[in-house]
């Protein structure tokens, strides 16, 4: 099956710093999403980004489908950005198959 690898596994930042999280996947996909799991356990959808670039405030994401990777950029990090960031992919057409998750990047932003 498809493999999803995220890096780095852990990241500690000082508030205000920028960071880049990476997601590599082993096969072509029809869906790629980035999620943030906050310290209370909620999984929040950040981006639906099978290809191209999107921005939402201090966060942006780029997926290069032909090279099988996606990047999540966090600028001017805040303590509320702490948590686990997951990349997940779906190979099925129509996005009604199953999401395969990476192992996550655990981010801690220190004040």
């Amino acid at each position: 099956g498809i493999q999803v690898e995220q890096s780095p596994p852990d990241l500690i930042l000082q508030e205000g710093a920028n960071s880049t999280l990476r997601c590599n996947f082993s096969d072509s996909v029809n869906n790629l999403q980035w999620f943030h799991q906050n310290p209370w356990g909620q999984l929040i959808n950040l981006f639906y980004i099978p290809s191209g670039t999107k921005q939402n405030g201090r966060l942006s994401a780029t997926t290069v489908a032909t090279e099988r990777y996606s990047l999540l950029y966090i600028s001017s990090s805040q303590t509320t950005d702490s948590g686990v960031y997951f990349c997940a992919v779906d190979r099925s057409s129509g996005n009604t198959g199953k999401l395969i998750f990476g192992q996550g990047t655990t981010l801690q932003v220190k004040p």
């Binding site: 869906n31 999403q33 999620f35 799991q37 356990g41 909620q42 999984l43 959808n45 639906y48 686990v84 997951f86 997940a88 129509g94 996005n95 009604t96 198959g97 199953k98 999401l99 395969i100 998750f101 192992q103 996550g104």
Partner: protein, 111 residues
């Protein structure tokens, strides 16, 4: 106006008991899912239903039985609970474009 809602949020029960987790979505999505997050934060699909029909069953023990009375609801019933069933269970829904939306999770602890 919660998009995907699960109940209960926490469930503590003894080994051997039977329990149910309920899930409802008001997004009009046709496909719903159950995912399990283990103690290492790894997320894996268990089941998916499309318009009340089972389409994915990821070799989950048959003690787990999903039930979908209509396309807005997907409940999970677990018989004869075991210690290894302790985890966080997430319900999700999706549509053909726009990605997946997750509920807030149910933390199940079997003692």
């Amino acid at each position: 106006d919660t998009a995907v809602s699960q109940t209960p949020k926490y469930l503590v029960t003894q080994m051997g008991n039977d329990k149910s987790i309920k899930c409802e979505q008001n997004l009009g999505h046709d496909t719903m899912y159950w995912y399990k997050q283990d103690s290492k934060k790894f997320l894996k699909i268990m089941f998916s239903y499309n318009n009340k029909e089972l389409i994915i069953n990821e070799t989950v023990p048959n003690r787990f039985s999903p039930k979908s009375p209509d396309k807005a609801h997907l409940n999970l019933h677990i018989n004869s609970l075991e210690l290894g069933d302790s985890a966080v269970y997430f319900c999700a829904s999706s549509q053909e474009s726009g990605g997946y939306t997750f509920g807030s999770g149910t933390r199940l602890t079997v003692v």
